[in-house]
Symmetry: C2
Subunit: 578 residues, 2 copies
Amino acid sequence: MDKILRIDMGAEGGPSLTVFPVGEFAGLGGRALTSAIVSKEVAPLCHALGAENKLVIAPGLLSGSVAANSGRLSIGCKSPLTGGIKESNAGGMASQTLAKLGYAAIVIEGKPKDGATYKIVINKDGATVKADNSLKMLGNYATVEKLAKEYGDKPCFITIGPAGEMKLSAASIACTDMEGRPTRHAGRGGVGAVMGSKGVKAIVLDDTGASMRAPKDPEKFKEANKMWVAGLKKHPVTGEGLAAYGTNVLTNVLNEAGGYPTNNFSIGRFEGHTKISGETQAALETERGGLATHGCHKGCIIRCSGVYHDKNGQYLTKQPEYETVWAHGGNCGIDDLDAIAMLDRLDDDYGLDTIEMGATIGVAMEAGLAKFGDAEAAINLVKQVGQGTDLGRILGSGAAVTGKVFGVERVPVVKGQALPAYDPRAVQGIGVTYATSTMGADHTAGYAVGSNILGIGGKVDALSPDGQVDLSRNLQIATAAVDSTGMCLFIAFAVLDQPETFQALIDMINAFYGLNLTGDDVAALGMSVLRNERDFNTRAGFTSAHDRLPAFFTNEFLPPHNIKFKVTDTELDSVFNF
Amino acid sequence: MDKILRIDMGAEGGPSLTVFPVGEFAGLGGRALTSAIVSKEVAPLCHALGAENKLVIAPGLLSGSVAANSGRLSIGCKSPLTGGIKESNAGGMASQTLAKLGYAAIVIEGKPKDGATYKIVINKDGATVKADNSLKMLGNYATVEKLAKEYGDKPCFITIGPAGEMKLSAASIACTDMEGRPTRHAGRGGVGAVMGSKGVKAIVLDDTGASMRAPKDPEKFKEANKMWVAGLKKHPVTGEGLAAYGTNVLTNVLNEAGGYPTNNFSIGRFEGHTKISGETQAALETERGGLATHGCHKGCIIRCSGVYHDKNGQYLTKQPEYETVWAHGGNCGIDDLDAIAMLDRLDDDYGLDTIEMGATIGVAMEAGLAKFGDAEAAINLVKQVGQGTDLGRILGSGAAVTGKVFGVERVPVVKGQALPAYDPRAVQGIGVTYATSTMGADHTAGYAVGSNILGIGGKVDALSPDGQVDLSRNLQIATAAVDSTGMCLFIAFAVLDQPETFQALIDMINAFYGLNLTGDDVAALGMSVLRNERDFNTRAGFTSAHDRLPAFFTNEFLPPHNIKFKVTDTELDSVFNF
């Protein structure tokens, strides 16, 4: 990981590829690297779909090593959805593969003039870019199937679906999982539209002949990784809970807490929650011959993913995540798991962020385009996106645009990005993260739900504004650091509760790179990432006025707690006081 | 004009009306008053379509008097198009009528819960609000026809069309002209959507029994008005040019200057310009029995408006203004005056801003929805808005949303509002106004075209960045003051060139109100208006990053001068140094 591949898609005479030493960006990985490059090299006021924007794809610091759960891939750019900086990360096989091939990052720049559809092929011999119009407007599933026919099933693929090609702001980038399916998405912020604007449909990554990355101190690294694995296995969430029911274990928990946003954030509890809970889902998956537990990438020991079969026992989609089940489920009043799984499949195939799409359908339902609870109507709405109809283009542009086009007032977005599956009135800490994150509303940017609801990393009362700013600040800093390691964010459950597991992570990094980092250094890294991102956003025109929830969260009471969001503007403005 | 009528559309038990003394807002009129109320009373982060926004309708300081050309009505709110403060003004009969009835302003607040369509009736006996669902979704023409049947043709009407009822961001508010036609629009910034969000379809203003407003010093006032009229008649633009050919006299002028934005701001000259010029238009109007000169309100002596008949000699629409002819004409490559007039008629009937719609169709053409030059396709696109189709809702949401939904990079907007009919690369002064105006791109906010192209108020080289910031600053200050008087902005041509005409205007205000204002006081008023507006926008989240033209104006050369926008960011940031 000592080189950066830069591809200028707009070069005269066709795309040009150049490999640079990592240089000034040495020592950075994942989000730290994507945000550093975007912040330094992208003009904050450029058009997100223009030649000036850059798509930066970076494995984490420990990706490509044998460190458990180190397979997250960061993808950064100026976001067409928020207008600010974006880092969206995904599991799947791409991060490990890219890291093993030695790339700290791929930077895709410029914009082709010919309107052709391109694929990038990277293997141990180097990289090439070729036009391949036969891939144009294929779904992600058909795309990877076609690529697998050409390149075999050994490589992994990074692809976009029709949504990305249409440059829609809710478009995701898919990474194939261990079975070669395009199920792991860098979903948020429209990164797929930026890839589409560069004319790039697919990246083929083949690590045949490449070795695992070797640590500087193999013995120490092995020892630290052992501690690391033990720590993850010991913690009840990473060791058992997530494996048993997947992330969707949260449906019943959040519903019980009254923080499960139902019918476009109108109520905090959903009557049909047991029908779509993780427990129900896992039982159904097992019964139909799918998988209730499964790892999304090699080296995962948490195994929170799964495989969802349809009524006939045929593969339909990967196990829908909690956020997806909520977005397409309770948020739209839908209590039918098969319908939700179908929506997940459609989103994955078209290349769409499931959170943004679920929130968007909720807004469309509020506008009267369909009734809350009408699963068939919801499926038809998402199909519009795949078909590229006018309505589909509206919906595929996300909740903010859909609200604007249909004159809806209750639109749950911050900085243009839809809120995930926790109502900020009943989980006030996550409200602070939604409001202030550099990413727009993003639960992964500082998962205060842990302390607010699950009692992980200490307990902060979910219904009180007290302590939420400190909580969110610390989590945002820690998360920015974790997102730079390539580690799956779920490791945070164990790291926050078990000091020795946190130390094992630091020991792994130190052993791998021959460093002597302390916990303070990790925090400093997180802060520097956030500073880079805030700086970009400030230059893009963001102010404290953008660090706010939509007015209805402070104006409307949320049942059953009948509570409003109570963290003050002054408190919100202190989140980045560090 | 010593009272303010406040209507709370969201009051329990139905709309409530209260008349207040003008109080702290005494001495303010037009834009100064709307911006003062909006800035003080509207939460900058509220949803523009929510109960918290307020629609403020205010005649100018001299409206309702015999002062020539004092009939502009200001309408203010938080804009659903820009997210910032908005003042949009219109001619027609409403301003004079409202002023004669004694109202400094009508403030429409709240939001009805019943979804009914309301009309407000104001006469010398007071004001009432009534539900009238028979008006729902009628075009502006059918609306005023129906109202005239009920209230006679003596009153004037302020109405919205279906676009406003659909709460689309390009929706205008129509004021009837001297013939009772809904042709004079407060077009910009989506004020019609705000009226629609309040459930108000129409305001009936009947000044039967009300007298003209009387000056404090009738003799001095009469004398000043005489000088005023003489000054307007003496100046070649206000005395002759505008009367002969209307505002569309500018087509040939701007085309010759190479600053006529053609095919979505790709070129500065349009091959078909002579076919749609003011000269051609006036001849056609006369030939068909329309009118090439006409006043849009009582007391107008400039008479730049007109009446456009179709091929059969039947009334089709008012004489399309220069901006409209450009927006639907050259900007879309269309050289057919009848098609442009039809587009103007449709916009007026649906209640849409012609500038925003023309720019939007240009963006749609760039997206490939129609070919540049295809008039029939353009008409069909605008008809979609009236029909409320999905595509119509996209287009009716303006150029920025349309660009986002269709993934277009070249979208000519500032702060979300479309650029008018002067390319900022060939008319660099107006580029400064577009970039920095509190209103979003707005030629009327500081009409540097006068000095850049027409040699009015001094000459500043249109192609050079030198002197443009000072020019725009002074014009923006002067305009904010003029917009507060009720005076039509075209008086500025005479006021800028003839010191004695400027003095006559000040003398009229002094004689009317018993004041001793100087030219400095007028400038101070303009500055205070801009400060109020900037303050609101800052609190709404605007920064210097929003005071910029879209990147393509600084990246792409404009033929025939092959020039880019050259005013630097630092210079732009000095516009409000006062």
